[in-house]
């Protein structure tokens, strides 16, 4: 098992954001983690990435407990992450952003030349040019998402945590991004957890889906099975019905 999450719980004061969530991930798998806003998927994600300490439960990565480790250590263990809203370093160039990740993101020290080569490879994988003069300011929404991904990939992760990577993209850009995650898994053998609230395009690429609602796991299975699960239909369509009711005055 690449990742085993058991009874993961996070409370903020009296509020339980994530409650006894368990799941496991095989090497080379793409897992979709979905749920409506406030379902606890970001909290789950941040606990794996080391940004939040679990209140209870365990997170085992490659057989070792990693719950409560700091983000730097999580990165060095081989888990890369992206941020929901891209957070590039604007004072550095595009290539420098990714070189920094390659240089500092690996547990064993790498030479600058090697970091440079790995950065160029990561940029090629996401389809950004490795031009040393290119600045972050020249990137649009899709370009920033790609940079975010390239930076995470440059740390040479075995597991990639991709946080709502498609928010703010148009339909063709979403398709491209989904294909890219598929290609990263296929070409680099990287295991991926993809956190989204848009269900559509995700279902095409992932092997398995976990659905969270109010901090609890309510469904797990293949995309097809989950899409037909009455509980999932309930939370997604239920939300839409509420929205429709609000839109149309009686």
């Amino acid at each position: 098992m690449m990742l085993e999450v058991a009874n993961l719980t996070r409370r903020f004061g009296g509020f339980t954001a994530v409650s006894r969530v368990s799941f496991a991930l095989e090497e080379g798998e793409i897992l979709g983690l979905i749920g409506p806003n406030g379902s606890g998927k970001s909290t789950t994600f941040n606990m794996i990435a080391g940004m939040l300490r679990p209140t209870e439960g365990s997170i085992r990565f490659a057989g070792e407990e990693i719950g409560g480790l700091k983000p730097v250590e999580i990165c060095h263990r081989g888990i890369g992450r992206t941020f929901q809203i891209p957070r590039p370093f604007r004072r550095l160039g595009i290539l420098e952003n990714v070189v920094t990740a390659a240089y500092f993101g690996q547990r064993e020290r790498v030479s600058r030349a090697r970091a440079q080569a790995q950065a160029e490879e990561a940029l090629a994988l996401v389809g950004l040019p490795a031009d040393p003069r290119a600045e972050v300011a020249g990137l649009g929404a899709a370009g920033l998402k790609k940079l975010e991904l390239a930076r995470a990939l440059a740390t040479q992760p075995r597991l990639l945590l991709a946080d709502e990577s498609l928010g703010g993209l148009d339909e063709s850009e979403m398709d491209q991004a989904a294909d890219m995650l598929g290609r990263i898994r296929r070409d680099k053998g990287i295991t991926i957890i993809w956190v989204e609230h848009i269900m559509g395009v995700l279902m095409r690429v992932v092997d398995r889906v976990i659905v969270l609602d109010h901090g609890e796991k309510i469904a797990e299975g293949t995309p097809r099975a989950v899409a037909e699960d009455p509980k999932v239909i309930e939370i997604y369509l239920g939300a839409e019905r509420v929205a429709f009711a609000g839109d149309r005055p009686a």
Binding site: A49, M51, K70, P71, V72, C75, H76, G80, R81, F83, R87, P88, F89, R90, R91, L92, E96, N97, V99, T100, A101, Y103, F104, G105, Q106, R112, A115, R151, A152, A154, T155
Partner: protein, 339 residues
């Protein structure tokens, strides 16, 4: 790059260096040589501040390190006859230790921006007040005189009766400061600190140990600043708490670097020239009659620089020069990109 191509590029700095080395030989007279040495010493101190200041780590208390460098070296010499060759390393070690003790909690608990500035502001004052309080050993606010050697010159005591000799010492230290600045500029540490100064969470997510990177640059900056303080003491052979520690000198460092240019190698030195010329002009023009006038003018200028020339004089000049040089090429590029 071949040696043949590198030579023309290196020519201007080499020529500049040769001109600087010739300064004491051309008979400038004591006053101008004194100004030159002062600029080199403060240029070095300002460079020391800027190597961390450029990453948004604005210290308002570098007087603390300056004071430790000056007083520890001088006190070890006066009290125990310990030569600066041993005294300076001890002073530097103490400054680095203080940087660590203050820096670690700040960086570990993410005290950044205004709060970091306030912590350092307090630090500068604590060192000044400590010097004043230990008046039996430091001479208090009256200052202390570094005991001179017979004849005025001793390599062992790092004292030179001849200003020309001291000029070369200051020149060497100043060049060393520029070299360190360049080393940091080209290092991966700069990437880490640029990243951390913008977004600590994102930097940590790609494996940058933010606390460690910040500590490293702070300790380096502290050591250099302390060396500058020691050099100042060896040159003046007199120090007092106001000139090497406390808020006044700490803020002057910040002002000089911002005026000269925070992000350019030569910026802090340009700042040293500006502050010195300003101080000398004021001294000659109005004398010491109007108390606090220099501070008022510093403050006013600082505000003007921050508003109208945030890159400082040298940053502004560099941008202007690059604009003139690349103006034609950039317009051509823009035309090509538009197609």
């Amino acid at each position: 790059m071949s040696a043949g191509a590198a030579l023309p590029r290196r020519l201007p700095p080499l020529a500049g260096l040769a001109a600087l080395a010739a300064v004491p030989l051309v008979g400038l007279g004591n006053y101008h040589l004194h100004l030159a040495i002062t600029i080199l010493i403060w240029g070095f101190v300002y460079t020391a501040w800027s190597i961390m200041g450029r990453f948004g780590m604005v210290s308002l208390g570098h007087g603390a390190f300056l004071g430790i460098g000056a007083y520890v070296t001088a006190m070890l010499w006066n009290a125990f006859g310990l030569a600066p060759w041993i005294g300076i390393p001890i002073a530097l070690a103490l400054a680095v230790l203080m940087a660590f003790v203050i820096g670690y909690p700040c960086f570990r608990f993410r005290i950044v921006g205004h709060y970091f500035a306030l912590v350092t502001l307090a630090l500068g004052e604590v060192v000044r007040l400590t010097i004043v309080a230990l008046r039996d050993h430091t001479g208090g606010s009256l200052g202390m005189t570094v005991e001179g050697v017979a004849g005025g010159t001793s390599l062992l005591a790092l004292q030179f009766g001849d200003r020309g000799a001291f000029f070369y010492l200051a020149l060497a230290v100043w060049l060393g400061g520029l070299w360190v600045w360049r080393l940091v500029d080209r290092s991966m540490l700069r990437y880490a600190l640029e990243a951390a100064s913008e977004d600590e969470d994102a930097a940590a997510s790609i494996g940058v140990d933010v606390t460690r990177a910040k500590l490293a640059i702070t300790m380096l900056s502290a050591a250099m600043t302390a060396l500058g303080g020691a050099l100042y003491a060896q040159y003046q052979l007199y120090i007092n708490p106001e000139t090497v520690s406390g808020i006044g000198i700490s803020l002057q460092i910040v002002f000089a670097v911002i005026a000269g240019g925070l992000y350019v190698q030569a910026g802090p030195t340009v700042g040293a020239v500006i502050t010195l010329l300003l101080a000398e002009t004021l001294r000659v023009a109005v004398g010491h009659d109007v108390h606090g006038l220099d501070g008022t003018i510093y403050g006013l200028l600082l505000v003007l620089f921050i508003i109208y020339m945030p890159q400082g004089v040298s940053g502004f000049a560099l941008a202007l020069w690059r604009g003139l040089r690349d103006g034609g090429a950039r317009r051509a590029d823009a035309g090509a990109a538009a197609r």
